[in-house]
């Protein structure tokens, strides 16, 4: 049945304009993702305003292209200049950059593209077959279950991804607070608007996302550039990519086969967990490959499997991360939260009924994900040297260019300069949060889920006549509440048993 829907989805894509937007998404996503500091979340947030003038299918296919592109783009700066664009690209640098130093940059980029493609395809298959199952299961969810699930997703994202639970919780709290600005969904009264008319409708997701990811990145970029020039560091100098041995041979791909498959399965299943996502998946895949290898001492020195496994895990996590988003309307990461916001802005109603009500669009979007994966492989093997050259050309103009794109992107949402000002303020706040190592993804995630969290909490208490035990007497809600408690006490358990993994395990 799923295959039939998928085929119908592919038929919807047979339109030159849709394919063109997918290509635009993949290209822009790759370029933005390749810019140091701009990961998938920031990349999708920055390019999101492009979608508003398109029809729903074109916009969603564009977003899938951007998502896939940014996920791969981050690899380029890791492999070429040892500057990971975002957390999940850190592992790529472990063996990717040593390959570049050995003069095998082209080979590393091509291997990364092929592993990402295979990982992406396996993640895609999982998405196709598991989404309807999860959506059916989610139909039995009511307000208490949703509240418990959202609470778990929020806390897992705040606590698992970063070193400091305290900072993660503060970031999440800030996101929740921003989500409460504007009209109260149940009573219909205004709150936390400080008397400003511009805040009556609440704060747009794009304003927050572009501010805290885009503008803050511009300020960080200026700072790091200043520091580098002060140090006399010129590590960003373009390195020539030799065309010789650009593509891995079939034999080399086969020798990486199991690593790629293992990475894909790890990435897919870890990707489905809220808060875990691509970063955890890549680290897990790297340590697995190192443990299974007969030559673990070669890891960190340009070992193929140290690159192919994590790369596959990274792109397979996309399929996994989209399952809770498409089936329940619950994103598990910052990028997922922005995609959820986009779905809402495009007039869809994320939740278990979305597949039923807007199945044609969703299946076409899923098909678009596969199309994006194929286009990504073609683009990133054929135009790798071109992309690398373009990134070097754009670098001197980067900070002002991103700032200008943020300005236009936010202005074009509602033609409002008030929102541009708000974005600027949030950008400055985001800069300081980033500078002091606060995770930013929980802010966006909490902003998107805040309204749902509060509404479901209040509806649950309406159902139970203010009896708080409703969250602990229903089996599914109880499971998520227990998981939430576990996430909260996990850092304490880790400290007590001293099982904190030393980063040295993964040094290279």
């Amino acid at each position: 049945m799923e295959l039939q829907f998928l085929m119908e989805g592919f038929v919807s894509l047979l339109n030159p304009q849709v394919i063109m937007w997918c290509l635009v998404g993949v290209t822009l996503g790759t370029l933005v993702g390749a810019l140091p500091g701009l990961g998938p979340t920031a990349g999708v947030a920055l390019l999101l305003p492009l979608c508003f003038s398109l029809d729903t299918l074109e916009a969603l296919v564009l977003l899938m292209g951007i998502y896939q592109g940014t996920m791969y783009g981050g690899r380029m700066s890791s492999i070429l200049v040892n500057v990971p664009g975002e957390a999940s690209a850190v592992v790529t640098a472990f063996d990717g950059y040593p390959m570049t130093k050995k003069g095998k940059a082209g080979y590393a980029l091509a291997l990364s593209a092929i592993a990402s493609f295979i990982g992406g395809m396996i993640g895609f298959m999982g998405l196709v077959f598991l989404t309807p199952l999860v959506a059916d299961w989610a139909l039995i969810f009511s307000s208490p279950e949703y509240f418990a699930l959202i609470l778990f997703a929020l806390l897992a994202t705040s606590g698992l991804g970063d070193q400091s639970l305290l900072k993660g919780l503060i970031a999440m709290g800030l996101g929740l607070l921003l989500s409460m600005v504007g009209m109260d969904a149940i009573q219909g009264s205004q709150r936390l608007t400080f008397g400003l008319l511009g805040l009556w409708d609440g704060i747009e997701l794009v304003v927050v996302a572009v501010g805290i990811f885009g503008i803050s990145e511009v300020l960080v970029n200026i700072e790091s550039k200043g520091k580098r020039s002060g140090d006399g560091d010129s590590s960003d100098i373009a390195r020539k990519i030799p065309f010789k041995e650009l593509f891995p041979t079939i034999k080399q791909i086969i020798s990486n086969g199991w690593s790629i498959v293992r990475g894909a399965l790890t990435g897919f299943f870890v990707g489905t967990l809220p808060g875990a996502g691509a970063t955890v998946a890549t680290f897990l895949s790297y340590s697995t490959e190192k443990k299974l290898s007969k030559t673990p001492e070669q890891f960190g020195k340009g070992k193929d499997q140290g690159l192919s496994g994590p790369e596959s895990a990274n792109n397979a996590s996309i399929g996994g991360a989209l399952i809770p988003l498409f089936s329940m309307g619950i994103p598990g990461s910052g990028t997922g939260a922005i995609l959820l916001g986009a779905l809402i802005m495009l007039g869809l109603q994320p939740g278990p009924l979305m597949i039923e009500k807007s199945g044609d669009i969703i299946w076409a979007t899923i098909a678009g994900l596969m199309l994006a994966n194929v286009l990504l492989l073609i683009l990133n093997t054929a135009f790798v040297p071109g992309f690398a050259w373009l990134i070097e050309v754009v670098k001197p103009y980067l900070a002002p260019l991103i700032a200008a794109l943020c300005f236009i992107g936010v202005y074009m949402i509602n033609y409002s300069y008030f929102e541009v000002g708000l974005m600027l303020l949030l950008g400055v706040l985001g800069y300081f949060l980033k500078k002091f190592h606060f995770p930013l993804a929980p802010i966006v995630l909490a902003l998107v889920l805040g309204g749902m969290l509060e509404t479901n909490y209040r509806q649950s208490l309406l159902l139970s006549h203010n009896d708080f035990s409703i969250f602990f007497t229903r089996p599914i809600a109880l499971v998520f509440m227990l998981l939430t408690i576990f996430v909260l006490i996990f850092p304490i358990i880790k400290k007590v048993f001293k099982i904190e993994k030393k980063q040295n395990d993964l040094t290279y």
Binding site: D184, I222, Y397, A399, P400, F407
Partner: protein, 153 residues
């Protein structure tokens, strides 16, 4: 560490403003159900408590650790560049009403490239003009969106 402490205190004040706002909202409805102020008040109190813990942990760290001489790389020039960007953007917001988005973007790019990136006027002008023209063409023709033109409209 000192800078982080100052930021933490500002953040505390920022959230405290939200707390004061939440105090103006009803906490419970007469029928005993939760009102619009319930969540904001609980949440602001929680964030304030967490921020206090953060401040205390910073102070404890400061007492434990010996002051490390941070390598200063002309921080004034970095801060002034960052401030320049923020002010330039604030000015762009103001000018946008009058000059329209395309021209404002071009001017913003020009001054930031010259004064922040220290590129030559000619190189900056070529990049600014070509970017503005590209933006105009993309929005007007590819996306069919009208960009406000201000006095040029």
């Amino acid at each position: 560490m000192k800078k982080e402490l100052i930021f933490a205190m500002f953040f505390f004040l920022f959230i405290f403003l939200f707390f004061l706002q939440s105090m103006t909202l009803p906490f419970m409805l007469p029928n005993g159900l939760l009102a619009s102020g319930f969540f904001p008040r609980i949440l602001t109190v929680l964030i304030l408590l967490l921020t206090l813990c953060y401040i205390v942990s910073l102070i404890r760290k400061m007492k434990k650790e010996k002051p490390v001489q941070e390598k200063k790389v002309n921080p004034r020039s970095i801060v002034s560049k960052q401030l320049f960007l923020v002010v330039a953007m604030a000015l762009a917001i103001f000018l946008g009403e009058y000059l329209g988005v395309t021209v404002t973007t071009g001017l913003f790019l020009l001054v930031t490239l010259v004064f922040i990136e220290k590129l030559s006027w000619l190189r900056s002008a070529i990049f600014s003009i070509s970017t503005s023209v590209s933006i105009y063409l993309i929005f007007e023709f590819a996306l069919n969106l009208n960009l406000p033109k201000g006095i040029f409209g």
